[in-house]
């Protein structure tokens, strides 16, 4: 057993951190935040592609680096730490993972090299309005290879070139690859709680759709993709939560009230200790998820759910208490606290809210612990 990154993985992580500290400064994040017309940083995206990160877990045969998923987790943590304004999750955790999981050889050969090269942005389209995604509620449908229906919201749907879409075929849900630049696709950009990430409403009217995986496997596949994404997103959340803790600690050590640094007050010490405890538990759950993902272990659904629940809670708590520690300063636009507050909401919602994952977790536990 070994519960830590290897030396090589640590090296990769350190390099990723140095790279992102230089290339993804708060000013870069804010340039996207403050410009309603932009939903990602094209320059950073190109540089991240040049680092090979988009293909970190894509086999060399398909143009990737052929590293494992633990390496991808290490990168995710660093992306989360800097609030990176790029469609990395949609493209790598969802699209590439869906292809790796269920794509035919032809589909892999067509898309994976382009993903690794940064030539195509992906999106994962399951939701059709307010509330959790459900098989019974699914309206989008594919008939004769043509998709009709509306998906909203679709993270990065405003800039993506291809989407993985959950839709019914006959009575059965399936996953489908849809070229978003092809015919029968209309997009409307949406305003979101986290303007450093984009989202859209996608309306399909007979858009050509190619099935990913077998007929009727849609829901099961979607869940498997979500498990993988949940682990990777948990690392972004842990990275973000850690950053919040450091911001809060640094500020508490320099801010004086009543003649003392506020870090000397127990209310603040306990607050930071609470953040730390949540972050460490989330990190440990995320590591277990990373192992399960990388090893293709049967425990993945449970490990992924636990990672998602813990990391969502940790990041939310750290981001809101970071604002609180900053007092009035924390409530201003100019101070970076709110970037993380917003991102914590984005990451908790993008793969389905924690309450859905808690339910999944317990139903898996129920089955595993069946009498």
């Amino acid at each position: 057993m070994n519960f830590d990154y290897s030396d090589d993985q640590k090296f990769l992580k350190d390099e990723a951190r140095k790279f992102l500290e230089a290339e993804c400064t708060p000013a870069r994040v804010r340039a996207v935040l403050d410009d309603a017309a932009r939903s990602y940083d094209e320059g950073l995206w190109a540089k991240v592609a040049a680092q090979g990160w988009l293909g970190a877990a894509i086999p060399e045969a398909h143009g990737g680096l052929g590293l494992g998923h633990i390496e991808l987790c290490a990168i995710a943590e660093e992306l989360g730490r800097v609030c990176a304004p790029i469609p990395f999750a949609s493209t790598v955790y969802f699209l590439a993972e869906a292809l790796l999981l269920a794509g035919s050889e032809a589909q892999k050969a067509e898309w994976l090299p382009r993903i690794a090269a940064g030539e195509v942005i992906g999106a994962f389209a399951t939701a059709e309005g307010p509330g959790a995604v459900s098989a019974a509620g699914l309206q989008a449908k594919v008939e004769g290879g043509k998709l009709t229906g509306t998906k909203v919201p679709v993270t990065d749907g405003d800039v993506a070139g291809v989407a993985v879409v959950l839709a019914k075929e006959g009575a059965q849900p399936g996953l489908f690859l849809v070229d978003l630049n092809g015919p029968g696709v209309a997009r409307e950009t949406l305003k979101t709680l986290d303007p450093t990430r984009g989202a859209a409403r996608l309306t399909f009217t007979g858009a050509p759709a190619e099935r990913l995986g077998g007929p009727g496997e849609g829901l099961a596949l979607a869940e498997q993709v979500m498990d993988r994404a949940a682990v990777l997103i948990a690392f972004e959340q842990v990275g973000g939560a850690d950053r919040c803790l450091i911001m809060a600690k640094d500020y508490a050590l320099e801010r004086y009230a009543f003649g003392r640094v506020i870090a000397s007050y127990q209310a603040i010490k306990h607050k930071l200790a609470d953040i730390y405890v949540k972050n460490e538990l989330a990190r440990s759950n995320a590591y277990y998820g990373a192992w399960a993902l990388n090893a293709g272990a049967a425990e993945l659904p449970i490990a992924a759910s636990a990672a998602r629940v813990a990391a969502s809670d940790a990041f939310w708590f750290a981001s809101k208490e970071n604002v609180q520690t900053h007092g009035g300063m924390g409530f201003t636009w100019e101070v970076d606290c709110h970037l993380y507050y917003r991102r914590s909401r984005q990451l908790s919602l993008v793969a389905g809210a924690p309450r859905v994952w808690k339910e999944r977790l317990v139903s898996h536990l129920e089955r595993r612990n069946a009498a």
């Binding site: 399951t126 939701a127 309005g129 307010p130 509330g131 959790a132 995604v133 459900s134 098989a135 019974a136 509620g137 909203v152 919201p153 993270t155 949406l190 305003k191 979101t192 709680l193 986290d194 989202a199 320099e254 801010r255 004086y256 009230a257 009543f258 003649g259 003392r260 640094v261 007050y265 209310a267 603040i268 607050k271 939310w316 809101k320 604002v323 609180q324 007092g327 009035g328 924390g330 409530f331 201003t332 636009w333 100019e334 101070v335 606290c337 709110h338 507050y341 909401r345 984005q346 908790s348 919602l349 993008v350 389905g352 809210a353 924690p354 309450r355 859905v356 808690k358």
Partner: protein
């Protein structure tokens, strides 16, 4: 104990409701969450007109004496009117700080002429006031104020900076806490003045807040002259004056946040799930019960305060409970609503999702509410130390001259 209206109270409620039904609807606005950012000219004009209408009918400050334009009414009547008014969407925030904190301070410390000059116009909504206490050097620690006032004959000359001043950009007057004696310990060298916000040398710069709007400001003072007659209380006795303001603050803030359990109940009922609606979910129902119980606890705690008030007692530090609960519930409930919508919760667009836009407004304004007018931590210290009588933190700043106090900068 009686949680129903007495016959007199019922009569007052009926009268107030009838009056509101006749007068309020034309001023009503469709508003989002608490601490709205809509400060369009139109909104302000409507707010002022509504305030004037209330003042003319004796509903502006119900508990104030008649000679000052109030109704000489009881705290209970004020509660009853507030409850009825809340149903009409006419809650304009422009006057809360002035009428709730600044003007009562003026009434407690100014001479008759000054009171006569200011109380009426403020009551009628003709003039708006702001509270210039917090500075970059301290919000919790208001007594650390550095803005200097130096005597010059019959005048004082003020230099320095205030920050987070809500409404300074539209206020006509303010009360400002300044340092008049840096050689004395910090609480003993402060003085309070009322000030005309149009005075030469005052510059108001809006601060962009995390929720997107700009309700609060930096206020810079460069050689601003005020007359000694604008002083409230004695020279170097401003801390005592500020305590009167802050005591009133406890009553002014901590009320409704614009979002409550009934709104999330409505949202859950509209959200279809495979089993029916989100309202059927057991875990959600438990949370809903908790929020309801919490809100009711708060409401009835406030009523108990009102009863104490109506017996002539002053509101004590126990009123600190109100804002801690209200602000944190706003944050938790708004977040729960956003998560209830699952992926869709990220959409922040009042046209696509009117109900959820209110919760998103709540999610982004709640962090400010947990800080403004006493942070959660300070309020808990107050409960621990002043209500429960627990020993305070060891103080290093009380007896040293202000200029020698450790500040880190």
């Amino acid at each position: 104990m009686d949680f129903t209206d007495s016959p007199e109270e019922a009569a007052y409620r009926a009268k107030a409701r009838a009056w509101l039904e006749e007068n309020a609807p034309k001023y009503a606005v469709k508003r989002g969450a608490a601490m709205e950012d809509d400060e369009s000219h139109d909104d302000m004009a409507r707010g002022k007109a509504w305030q004037a209408t209330k003042a003319a009918a004796g509903y502006a400050q119900i508990t104030w004496p008649k000679e000052w334009g109030g109704a000489g009414g009881t705290p209970m009547q004020a509660v009853i009117f507030g409850q009825e008014e809340a149903r009409f969407g006419v809650g304009f925030g422009y006057f809360t700080i002035g009428l709730g904190m600044c003007v009562p301070t003026v009434m407690a410390f100014a001479d008759e002429a000054t009171k006569t000059r200011f109380v009426g116009p403020a009551l009628r909504g003709e003039e708006i006031w702001c509270q210039l206490f917090s500075e970059p050097s301290g919000g919790s620690d208001v007594a650390a104020a550095r803005t200097r006032a130096v005597r010059d004959g019959d005048d004082w000359i003020i230099n320095g900076q205030k920050v987070w001043t809500s409404g300074a950009h539209y206020s006509d007057f303010g009360i400002v806490l300044v340092r008049t004696n840096p050689d004395a310990p910090k609480h003993k060298g402060l003085t309070m003045f009322w000030i005309d916000m149009k005075s030469p040398g005052i510059e108001v710069r809006p601060i962009h807040q995390m929720s997107g709007g700009s309700n609060f400001n930096e206020v810079y003072f460069t050689d601003v002259r005020v007359k000694d007659s604008q002083r409230l209380g004695a020279v170097d006795d401003g801390w005592k004056v500020s305590l009167v303001t802050l005591m009133n603050e406890r009553l002014a803030v901590g009320g409704g946040t614009g979002i409550d359990y009934s709104m999330i109940l409505k949202l859950a009922r509209e959200l279809k799930t495979d089993q029916g609606t989100a309202l059927g979910d057991q875990a959600f129902r438990e949370k809903l019960a908790d929020w309801y119980v919490q809100s009711e606890g708060l409401k009835f705690t406030r009523f108990r305060t009102m009863t104490a008030l109506s017996r002539g007692q002053t509101p004590g530090p126990e009123s600190s409970i109100g804002k801690i609960i209200a602000a944190n519930q706003l944050q938790e409930l708004s977040n729960a609503a956003v998560e209830l919508e699952d992926q869709y919760g990220i959409i922040d667009d009042a046209e696509l999702a009117p109900l959820s836009a209110a919760f998103q407004g709540g999610l982004l304004s709640a962090p400010g509410l947990r800080i403004a007018g006493g942070t959660d931590e300070i309020l808990k210290n107050i409960i621990a130390e002043r209500v429960l009588g627990l020993p305070g933190d060891i103080r290093v700043d009380k007896d040293v001259p202000f200029k020698d106090m450790p500040t880190g900068r």
